[in-house]
């Protein structure tokens, strides 16, 4: 197990270095801004002295390098500045908005797996049979619809034409649930509000399904091709020769190995899933970090844009690190070599 710890330690150091460099990239990109953010937040009557005071307050004085050093110093102490628009600390805004997004992403990941594991097996079973062509076309079609369009389609179908599911916000206003963890599905359980739990869950179904619909065809593709790869492996043939049924071979022998490339892909594509929440949250008026980002962009709220962009990157880094860890646990070959 020492090997794994060593490997993960190295990955952790890389991840930290990357987080630092990513913050530099975010910082530089946002300093290219063509207009002066101060001009937008101050009244036209502000004097030069006023402007200078606010500029200093926001950390926008000095060279980019000086600004970055000051910003980094604060950031390492957990202070990402104050939002210009909301007049609140960026960190506290992020902490309220992050749990809803995580909840949405996790629910949609579960949904995506529930769709794509049977989907991948189905496509593998259809290989070189009638119906393969049709299934393939359906797959390309599903790959061609981005998640925010699924969101709109789902809203029109299940929200407007057949109004069976809610599509605005996170919880019906008739329920009030105190934020303990920030996760609506957990908080409602902790407070024994079962009807509120059901309501929170029904609010999650459409946005999570929209994300899952665009994420699962990607998983299906990889799962099918890795199943096809393992199908020719010797141990699979041996299992067949021993007279095991096709399903038993599939479940007991092929699946674990086919799962590894799929897991890697989920890690690589996680940024895609995370990025998808941005528009989905806007479309469903869901109070997560994606919505926060779009509001920040509409108001040229630089400190907030910077904070949210960084959190998105950090999430991707954290997920990739976790996948690496999971990989090391699942794949014994990594432990010995």
């Amino acid at each position: 197990m020492g090997n794994v710890a060593h490997l993960l330690g190295r990955k952790l150091i890389t991840a930290c270095a990357m987080a630092l460099l990513l913050s530099v990239v975010v910082f530089i990109v946002l300093r290219m801004i063509p207009s002066d953010p101060l001009a937008m937040m101050l009244p036209p009557s502000a004097t030069q002295a006023d402007i200078d005071i606010v500029r200093k307050e926001l950390g926008l004085d000095g060279s980019i390098f000086q600004q970055y050093v000051v910003w980094l110093g604060h950031a390492l102490q957990g202070d990402l500045g104050r939002s210009i628009f909301f007049r609140e600390s960026v960190v506290s805004l992020l902490l309220t908005a992050l749990p809803p997004t995580l909840e949405l992403v996790l629910v949609s990941l579960v949904m995506a797996l529930l769709i794509s594991i049977p989907g991948g097996v189905l496509l593998y079973k259809l290989e070189r049979r009638r119906g393969e062509m049709l299934a393939d076309f359906v797959l390309v079609f599903l790959l061609s619809v981005p998640s925010f369009l699924w969101g709109i389609i789902l809203i029109v179908v299940f929200g407007v034409i057949f109004p069976i599911l809610p599509f605005m916000g996170r919880l019906d206003p008739e329920f009030s649930v105190n934020a303990i963890t920030g996760f609506a599905l957990i908080d409602t359980v902790l407070q024994g509000e079962w009807r509120a739990w059901l309501d929170a869950f029904s609010h999650l179904i459409l946005p999570a399904f929209a994300l899952a619909l665009s994420f699962s065809p990607i998983i299906v593709r990889v799962l099918r091709s890795s199943l096809l790869d393992t199908a020719t492996a010797q141990y699979v043939n041996v299992a067949r020769l021993r007279g095991q049924s096709e399903w038993r071979v599939l479940v007991h022998h092929m699946f674990k190995n086919a799962a590894l490339p799929t897991l890697t892909l989920i890690g690589v594509q996680f940024g895609f899933l995370f990025g998808g929440t941005l528009l989905i949250e806007v479309i469903f008026s869901f109070p997560g970090i994606g919505n926060l980002m779009v509001q920040a962009i509409k108001n040229f709220d630089l400190p907030l844009i910077q904070g949210v962009a960084l959190v998105f990157c950090l999430m991707v880094l954290v997920v990739n690190f976790c996948i690496d860890g999971l990989y090391a646990v699942l794949d014994p070959r990594l432990r010995t070599s």
Partner: protein, 296 residues
């Protein structure tokens, strides 16, 4: 057989091979339709896409009750013809798709060939940047760039190029690493050809099929990114028609006029599906390894 007839036979079998795959045919026809609609928009559209008819707002499509033949797909909240806007919206989509995908292809492929062929510090530093880029969710990165660069179609194109070149880089570099080990590349080197010549004449043709495949795919991606950015209001000015703008406008009247939303949805999905089908088909048709498997 003379060389000309052989050449002719080769070209014909090439075209026949291209058309042998249903995805190439269907995708190709769809791309053609998309191109024609975008190019012929002023002649195809029944109305001026920006003309407001405030006496006829939120009309349903012509075939349903209350619709007017003058507005085949109905009108939006300002009484503008939905069909005309759908048709004119394809122009921005096509512009962004072609220019952004070309830029992405050039930047990604050039860097990939240089890095994969020369290796060394250049390869290491570019690959490191790619690793950094991968940590950004693409949508977040492109929106951030739009804030930094300012709104406008040309900046949308620039943002797509700056975000998506890594797609080309990763795939093409891997192909270059294989290609540079081939015997004909070693032979070219022994003959004393310059590195530039080897990269252009020996390596580039080897990676061309995958580049073409990715190019078609990237056109679809660019269309989606443009739609997202104009949906959020970061792309085109208000007098330009774009599918994302139509989505944003239609969202406010979702209860009264759901069809206003479905038109741009259909437009975007049609265009993206066209390029994805073409790309998928080309991948199979252009890959000599997959081709051989098929003919055996």
């Amino acid at each position: 057989m003379t060389t000309t007839t052989m050449k002719y036979a080769g070209a014909r079998s090439g075209l026949a091979r291209l058309c042998s795959h249903p995805k190439v045919v269907i995708g190709g026809v769809m791309v053609l339709i998309f191109l024609l609609v975008a190019l012929l928009a002023p002649w195809l559209a029944p109305n001026d896409p920006n003309a407001q008819d405030l006496l006829a707002t939120l009309l349903p499509p012509a075939w349903s009750e209350g619709g007017l033949a003058q507005y085949p797909l109905g009108t939006d909240a300002l009484g503008r013809c939905v069909l005309s806007r759908l048709i004119f919206g394809s122009r921005i989509a096509l512009l962004v798709a072609v220019v952004a995908a070309t830029g992405t292809m050039l930047l990604g492929t050039v860097l990939a060939i240089l890095a994969g062929y020369l290796r060394g510090w250049f390869d290491r530093s570019i690959s490191f940047i790619v690793m950094l880029w991968m940590a950004f969710p693409p949508v977040v990165f492109s929106m951030m760039l739009m804030v930094g660069l300012g709104t406008g179609v040309s900046n949308v194109i620039l943002a797509v190029i700056l975000v998506d070149w890594t797609r080309f880089y990763r795939v093409v570099r891997a192909e270059v690493l294989v290609a540079r080990q081939r015997e004909y590349v070693h032979a070219a080197r022994l003959l004393g050809f310059s590195h530039l010549r080897i990269m252009l004449r020996e390596v580039l043709p080897g990676v061309a099929p995958i580049v073409i495949t990715l190019f078609s795919l990237e056109m679809g991606v660019a269309i989606v990114v443009e739609a997202i950015l104009s949906f959020v209001g970061l792309s085109v000015p208000s007098n330009v028609v774009a599918w994302g703008v139509m989505l944003a406008d239609g969202r406010d009247q979702i209860y009264q006029a759901g069809w206003n939303l479905m038109a741009p949805v259909v437009g975007i999905v049609f265009a993206v599906l066209a390029f994805n089908l073409l790309s998928d088909g080309l991948r199979v048709v252009l890959d000599p390894r997959l081709r051989k498997r098929g003919s055996e």
